[in-house]
Symmetry: C2
Subunit: 329 residues, 2 copies
Amino acid sequence: MIERMKFDSVYIKSWASVAGQKEAEGPLANMFDHMIYDEYFGKSSFEKAESEMCRICINTLLAKCGINTNDIDIALAGDLVNQCVATSYAAKHFKIPFLGLYGACSTAAESLLTAACIISSGNAENALCYASSHFCTAERQYRFPLEYGNQRTPTSQNTVTGCGAFLVSNAASDIKLTEAVVGVISDNGVTDQNNMGAAMATAAYDTIKRYAALHGSLNGIDMIATGDLGAEGHAICAELLKRGEIDFGGIFTDCGLMIYDIAKQDVHAGGSGCGCIATVAAAKLLPMLQNGEIKKLMLIGTGALLNTNSVLQGESIPSVAHAVVLEKV
Amino acid sequence: MIERMKFDSVYIKSWASVAGQKEAEGPLANMFDHMIYDEYFGKSSFEKAESEMCRICINTLLAKCGINTNDIDIALAGDLVNQCVATSYAAKHFKIPFLGLYGACSTAAESLLTAACIISSGNAENALCYASSHFCTAERQYRFPLEYGNQRTPTSQNTVTGCGAFLVSNAASDIKLTEAVVGVISDNGVTDQNNMGAAMATAAYDTIKRYAALHGSLNGIDMIATGDLGAEGHAICAELLKRGEIDFGGIFTDCGLMIYDIAKQDVHAGGSGCGCIATVAAAKLLPMLQNGEIKKLMLIGTGALLNTNSVLQGESIPSVAHAVVLEKV
């Protein structure tokens, strides 16, 4: 079993983010490239809206880094909609070889590390990675019709309406992708689909622990940002780190806690969804690396690998956490 | 845009297949490693059955190549069940870093080429790839309750109950994975979910055309096997190849046409599903390469990237086809 992947010449050259209304009302409002207040994004269904959001995000990325689709060798993407149609339908608009991924909310990190391997193998120079989620597609697919207006439990999280896109390249730039840890599936017995933070906390801990064991320390990392553990999962993972004697003093945070003002925005335990880590990374964390506020970031995509049937059939919720280590050059 | 990927030291070391009753009644019956006649595989639901089939297939592979899970650096897998729970729940049984993929029925080929990139990047020595489908999980998820016993159209295909697993390695063995072509999403306007062969035919053609254009020929390939175009899709793709003046005389076949006796087994246009190409490759094609019956195989996973909502919302069916080139050493 490999404990981590290593990369010599893989960089994050550019990034872009698109977010919805609730995200635009949160603390990161002025950091997104686009905010779109119509949850339909001008389309006739939520699913088409999510695809459109991806298309806009990719075009924004292309514009920001001044390259066109011919310069991109491969695209890697995924989302939460059944059969990942949000991201694959978006890919129809771009004639780029396309690999679909499914890692639930870990997909953004999975796409970055897979792209890094493809680039390191010499089979691509530029890879487009993106991941999305939409509150309305996720809510009606996983839970209840939106019109029903059901009450949510305190540990539930709010699926982020957002897409983040990244250009991964072998051409040197400010941010280098140096290492990755591919998650091992963890199942701690949680069966409550309204508490996915608790289900994913052990997966995140396992990934951090493997990395720390390999290096004997956190190896100079000055921020660990998980994707969407939320308040409940973050507290559990922090407790596990403490018991595991992994010194994370003050550097451990979660994108699901950053994207909303949890005290004010009625989002219960925080944000979730593939778009949570993708938008927070693109809007806040990569700029922090670029301007030197942090020097070495471990970005950990956390995914709960359930579906609606598996929950009804009494299965517990297996989870996975993939990490990429990004360094300011 | 890259036209193809190249690999120096990637091999398919071993493979295994598990199939269900209808497949066991077909022409490949004596080639599968296991045939299981209970569609529940001893479990309480079809979804759990599909996971169990994957678990059995992986254990069979491990036994065949005499290695244990500690020697495997990474697993890559996917299936058709919403959120790919068949393959990810199977992965719970093995403590191997896990990447989930979603390429619909192209997943087996996608897993092989992605594993090849990871191995070529130096970040793994042994990768486990597997893909599965189950008639009962697919039928009730995509179409109708099984009990309803609806009539099927002549162009419809029969989802294969089967799992194929592969050990991809940097250690030399009989079969070398030398090249791959990552598919570009193709949408030819087909909206009939009972004619996925027609939807996927253009994607398969595009992938073959790109490979042929690069080499100026089919470069010594002596068999092209698509995953699950079925009778309708195979005929359309053959016609496109003819019009495109790509000389495929007698070497172009389809796993969906091989797995059943179409004239006798009431499967309409043939087999389909992630498990179709995976089981046919593991049961028939890789042994053909190994014993020298063929020398250079292009295996093309073909995937229709629809979901049930996208069809109801009037969307056409985008498709993708990923190819791997396998050579007898």
